[in-house]
């Protein structure tokens, strides 16, 4: 028993005297390592008998636990001190700028096309496409605009080749023709895309963007057209109420035809949509002319519907306060940086258009 008490005394004093991690590790090894003093003492258990053996074993185990705990807590103490010391010394200025990051941007035209798609998508429209190079038939004739129709003069058309049969589409309306010729009614599509007219000045660029809409079914009337456009404009401009005005107009491919104005006012030189007493023309639309449906082999006694065409660049200008159309196509990195959108800003109904 003396041996146990003696060892206890010895190790307690050694533990007390250990002033660093290295020393205490040495004590640990002296106690419990190979041939360690406490380990060695366990061998003695086998030499004892009866009550002595029981008492000795019990006291030795107590000693082992006791010393082990003391050593471990001392080790722990030294480690904590060391970490704390390291932490207090190891300090860098995290306000220093990190490695430079470049952020990409999405062009406003792409963003607006995605917004328009999300809005019309929710009410059952799907996206159709057509080529930029069109034949004269799809761009004009099939749309009830025969050769020498004065409306053709209003489209300053780019041609490819001398016989004027191939052209750059002057509007997205030929997608109506392609869609109807390649399928069976009902049709409910929008067709965003590039359009071209040989016109270039302050407010015109030779290329611009439109989105076409077409809805043909058994009972689609002008009230539906009005409802869809009202819905679109409210959603697009993110306002609850919109002042909208339908005005009679003329397009060869719709009858009746309308132009749509929205109300706005100028506040601090910025256009505010939905209020005020000024009117801004934003789109053309109408009920698809029976001749167009006939040209597309659609049975006019059963089917009718509406079509519309909206200028995408113009929508972008109005919504985002961009005042120069030409700047859209100039790739000035400063402009792209300013008017572009974060690539993760994906317009979707579930998350809304604005963060």
């Amino acid at each position: 028993m003396d041996e146990i008490l003696h060892l206890e005394k010895e190790f307690k004093s050694k533990i007390d005297q250990s002033e660093n991690l290295h020393k205490i590790e040495q004590v640990k090894s002296e106690a419990f390592g190979k041939n360690g003093k406490i380990g060695e003492l366990f061998k003695k258990i086998t030499t004892l008998q009866g009550e002595d053996r029981k008492n000795f074993a019990s006291n030795l185990n107590k000693l082992k636990d006791n010393i082990n705990n003391l050593i471990n807590s001392k080790i722990n103490l030294f480690e904590q001190t060391e970490i704390n010391k390291k932490l207090s010394e190891d300090r860098i200025d995290v306000t220093l700028p990190g490695r430079p990051i470049t952020f990409g941007k999405i062009h406003p035209v792409t963003q607006v096309i995605d917004e328009v798609t999300a809005i019309f998508g929710e009410i059952g429209f799907s996206v159709a496409e057509g080529p930029d190079v069109e034949n004269e038939y799809n761009n004009f004739t099939a749309l009830n605009t025969p050769p020498h129709h004065p409306a053709r003069d209003m489209h300053d058309t780019f041609y490819l080749g001398q016989n004027k049969e191939i052209l750059l589409r002057t509007h997205t309306s030929p997608v109506q023709i392609r869609t109807m010729l390649s399928g069976k009614p009902p049709f409910k599509i929008i067709a965003p895309g590039r359009t071209y007219r040989c016109d270039s000045d302050q407010t015109h660029t030779p290329m611009f963007h439109q989105v076409e809409g077409l809805h043909i079914d058994k009972n689609v009337n002008m009230g539906h057209l009005k409802g869809v456009l009202d819905y679109f404009i409210r959603k697009f401009f993110e306002v609850d109420k919109i002042k909208m005005r339908f005005r009679p107009s003329h397009f060869p491919f719709t009858e009746p035809s309308a132009e749509v104005d929205i109300g706005y006012e100028l506040k601090d030189g910025k256009i505010v949509i939905g209020e005020g007493d000024k009117w801004l023309e934003i789109l053309g639309c109408g009920m698809v002319h029976p001749n167009v449906l006939k040209n597309c082999k659609v049975n006019t006694s059963m089917y009718q519907g509406y079509a519309f065409g909206i200028g995408i660049d113009r929508l972008a200008m109005l919504k985002y306060g961009i005042n120069d159309l030409r700047s859209f196509f100039e790739t000035d990195v400063r402009w792209l940086e300013h008017y572009g959108f974060d690539p993760l800003d994906i317009p979707a109904n579930y998350r809304g258009f604005s963060r």
Partner: protein, 797 residues
């Protein structure tokens, strides 16, 4: 089409003020563009030259700072020798139409300087023949910023008449519409009382296929042509027309009043036998606008046996034109074929008021009335004796008849209309009809060529009733269909994927300079645009790089050297519809980043651009195992620093390519800040993953047995590409070799000239046990043997 309130009141009994007239016009589809004084008043201002300097790029031109009032200073390029500091002169704003040549002033770039308008000479303004230098004004009489032309005419309402409404190209048609819309009562046309007291000496022969269906004429003898009286001049000036002489002004007045173009010839300058015929190619004709036109065939000509008198319905000839000395006149009121008029005028580039009306449609029944009215007014103002009227050609103009079921209105518009309202509207618009059980038999007035079928009647009814009466029907949410196709989703995803790697998306024109585009592979002459707006934009682009490089260069000039820009759009390989593909192309120039406290400058390299393409392809759903790179490139890339991505299963259609843009092209484009790296992703070649999310995940299989890493270094011939080595090694044991990394490539030193050292790290792991030393050694030996066999490679000692 311009009208004034007082002219309108010749036809409409109304007390409506101008605001009410304007809002009603807008509501019934006659869109008012502007209300105000005529263009001349708005567009020509008194201005002062603050400073006149020599144009930087032209010896004979001056660059002037011009004060146009209220402190606004503009740059205007001017060629006049008298342009000098302090001069008060006349400035034409962009949009102004120069009276002399009818040219519209635009903002134009003159030898590298934008010029915002024009300084005018007296001759340009039609004031005199003085064309030497610009007008010099007396500063005591004129004030800077004021309108140069005196504003004493009535405000004109400028209406944009849609091409279908030819009837509204006359004041009377507009009055009729306004009356129907409830703005007043249409006044009955005045009856003509023509005293004819001589015999018409003219004989008009209309040849078949001439493009003229009817020709009515009379002869007036012994008139005294003069300046028009004030009432007539004021009427014309107010709507922007220059008065010329009484006879000409009267024909213009009838045209504007009734949409009835007429033409007066000096009878002493033409023979008595008039032949209306079709032109033959190559015939020449000097027109009233002093231009000598060479004709194509198929145009309608008014001729004598020897000479051409006029281009029917388009423009008269100079030789028979009316002057103040004209004593005897031959007056024409005819009907021409719209398509022929349009075709002939377009070929010659003539845009006259008569042509504008005939191609849209003129009421045949005004032919005689308009002629009589003109003769009567000429007689009143200029005296003379009037001959009998003679009509040639067709004389019986049938009205169109259409059936209209009033239920059609409800079907198209969505709401009902009463019989009484239908009757009232049709009646006021001049339609005759009978109704029985909702079905109308309608006789269309001859002034409405645009009304051909039931829907046209629907439009007339709703137009007058008001579009605001259309009941709005709210749309319903409907998500039964896919909004986008797989391809469309791919494209939208790719755009945002590239942007998210730090690239700015741009949109550039689909056309470009053929000169620049031809530096790339696919350019061909079929892509040339027949009527480009400029030589810099004269061809459809065959490469997405053409415009990107042009614009990148502009950005460098703006002092933005480090650029990452991309575009997603069409490129063309032919001029037929559909000969286009969608490409995402991007370029990166300069440094990835500039020096900072952590690192030094980092230049862009091929691997930067390759990684972007690689990551994007993986994000687009391509299986990494399927992706293969070939070091083979298009000529527009640096031959040694470019490559293409393919699917291993399809080596025909590249998914993408990337590399350093060929330095020869960069030199050609004079881009001083190279090298430029680029990539193209060919979206049409990317397979659409047509899998449901539920099918996308296959069985989860991982190994928990110990993995071992082994490094090897081989000396190998330079020509063997890394991808080949990696593929060969994977094939040694696809089950055990999990990963291969190349961690060093070295040439030179003590390594033979045509060889390189490639160091590889292999991760080896079994799916079902811990590998023992023997198994690992066996695999190592196999690897070394494969390298020897396939590439004659030796293990580096």
């Amino acid at each position: 089409m311009k009208i004034t309130s007082s002219w309108l009141k010749d036809h409409l009994k109304t007390s409506a003020n101008i605001e009410k007239i304007v809002s009603t016009l807008n509501n019934i589809g006659l869109e008012v563009e502007s209300v105000g004084a005529t263009d001349k008043n708005n567009f020509f201002l008194v201005a002062k030259i603050i400073k006149a300097e020599k144009h930087p790029n032209a010896d004979k031109l001056k660059l002037c700072d011009v004060d146009i009032g209220s402190g606004k200073i503009l740059k205007v390029v001017c060629g006049a020798s008298n342009a000098r500091d302090g001069l008060l002169t006349v400035y034409a704003k962009p949009g102004a139409i120069i009276p002399k040549n009818q040219l519209k002033i635009k903002v134009t770039n003159i030898r590298g300087v934008d010029s915002y308008g024009m300084l005018c000479s007296e001759s340009e303004l039609g004031l005199s023949d003085e064309s030497q230098g610009i007008i010099e004004l007396d500063s005591k009489k004129f004030k800077v910023g004021n309108s140069y032309f005196k504003n004493n005419s009535e405000p004109a309402i400028d209406i944009s008449i849609t091409p279908n409404r030819s009837d509204c190209l006359g004041v009377r048609g507009i009055a009729r519409d306004l009356s129907t819309a409830g703005l007043g009562k249409l006044i009955e046309l005045q009856q003509t009382k023509l005293k004819t007291n001589i015999k018409n000496p003219f004989k008009v022969i209309i040849q078949s296929n001439s493009g003229c269906s009817s020709f009515t004429h009379c002869y007036i003898e012994g008139i005294k042509n003069s300046e028009s009286p004030k009432w007539l001049k004021d009427k014309l000036i107010a709507v922007g027309m220059n008065p010329i002489s009484a006879v000409v002004d009267i024909t213009n007045y009838i045209m504007l009043d009734l949409n009835r173009p007429l033409h007066a010839y000096d009878a002493d300058k033409i023979e008595r036998k008039v032949i209306v015929r079709s032109s033959k190619k190559g015939e020449k004709f000097l027109a009233l606008d002093n231009n000598n036109y060479s004709l194509e065939d198929g145009a309608c000509l008014i001729t004598n046996e020897k000479e051409i008198l006029g281009l029917g319905g388009v423009i008269g000839g100079e030789s028979s034109s009316i002057s103040l000395d004209t004593k005897n006149i031959f007056l024409e009121s005819a009907l021409f074929d719209p398509a022929k008029i349009s075709k002939a005028a377009k070929k010659l580039g003539i845009n006259s008021d008569a042509k504008f009306r005939f191609e849209r449609g003129v009421d045949p029944n005004t032919m005689e009335y308009g002629l009589k009215l003109a003769a009567q007014i000429i007689n009143k103002l200029c005296g003379g004796k009037i001959s009998n009227l003679v009509a040639s050609g067709e004389g019986n103009f049938k009205n169109k008849q259409i059936k209209f079921n009033s239920k059609k209105f409800e079907k198209i518009i969505g709401s009902k209309i009463s019989t009484a309202e239908i009757n009232k509207i049709l009646n006021n618009l001049g339609f005759k009809f009978k109704e029985s059980k909702n079905v109308y038999s309608i006789i269309v007035p001859t002034w409405r060529p645009d009304i051909n079928e039931e829907v046209d009647i629907v439009e007339e009814l709703i137009r007058i009733r008001g579009y605001d009466k259309i009941q709005l029907i709210n749309p319903e949410v409907d998500s039964s269909k896919n909004i986008l196709t797989g391809k469309q989703k791919l494209q939208r995803f790719a755009q945002r994927s590239i942007a998210n790697k730090g690239f700015m998306e741009t949109v550039t024109y689909s056309f470009t300079s053929s000169k620049i585009d031809s530096l790339f592979d696919l350019h061909n002459k079929n892509l040339l645009i027949t009527n480009p707006i400029s030589n810099d934009l004269n061809a459809l682009r065959s490469s997405i790089f053409s415009n990107l490089l042009i614009h990148a260069k502009n950005n460098i000039h703006r002092n933005f050297e480090d650029q990452k820009i991309f575009e997603c759009g069409p490129v063309f390989f032919g001029s037929k519809p559909g000969e286009q593909i969608v490409v995402i192309g991007g370029i990166q120039i300069g440094k990835i980043y500039r020096k900072n406290w952590l690192e030094k400058d980092k230049d862009v390299d091929v691997f930067e651009i390759k990684d972007i393409v690689y990551k994007t392809l993986i994000e687009l759903g391509i299986d990494e195992q399927e992706l293969s790179i070939i070091q083979e490139s298009e000529s527009y890339y640096h031959p040694g620093r470019s490559g293409k991505f393919f699917l291993s299963s399809n080596k025909q259609s590249p998914l993408a390519n990337f590399g350093e843009i060929n330095p020869k092209i960069i030199k050609e484009l004079d881009i001083k800040y190279g090298p430029v790296f680029g990539f193209q992703i060919f979206l049409n070649n990317i397979p659409v993953i047509n899998k449901q999310n539920t099918e996308k995940k296959f069985k989860y299989l991982v190994s928990n047995f110990q993995k071992i890493e082994r490094d090897f270094a081989f000396i190998i011939d330079k020509k063997f590409e890394a991808e080949k080595i990696i593929n060969a090694l994977f094939n040694v044991d696809k089950k055990l070799i999990k990963k291969i990394r190349i961690f060093d490539v070295f040439q030179g030193g003590n390594i033979e000239k045509n060889k390189k050292s490639v160091a590889l790290n292999l991760v080896i792991q079994s799916q079902d046990k811990t590998l023992n030393d023997k198994e690992i050694d066996e695999l190592s030996n196999k690897i070394i043997q494969t390298m020897q066999k396939s590439f004659d490679a030796t293990l580096r000692s």
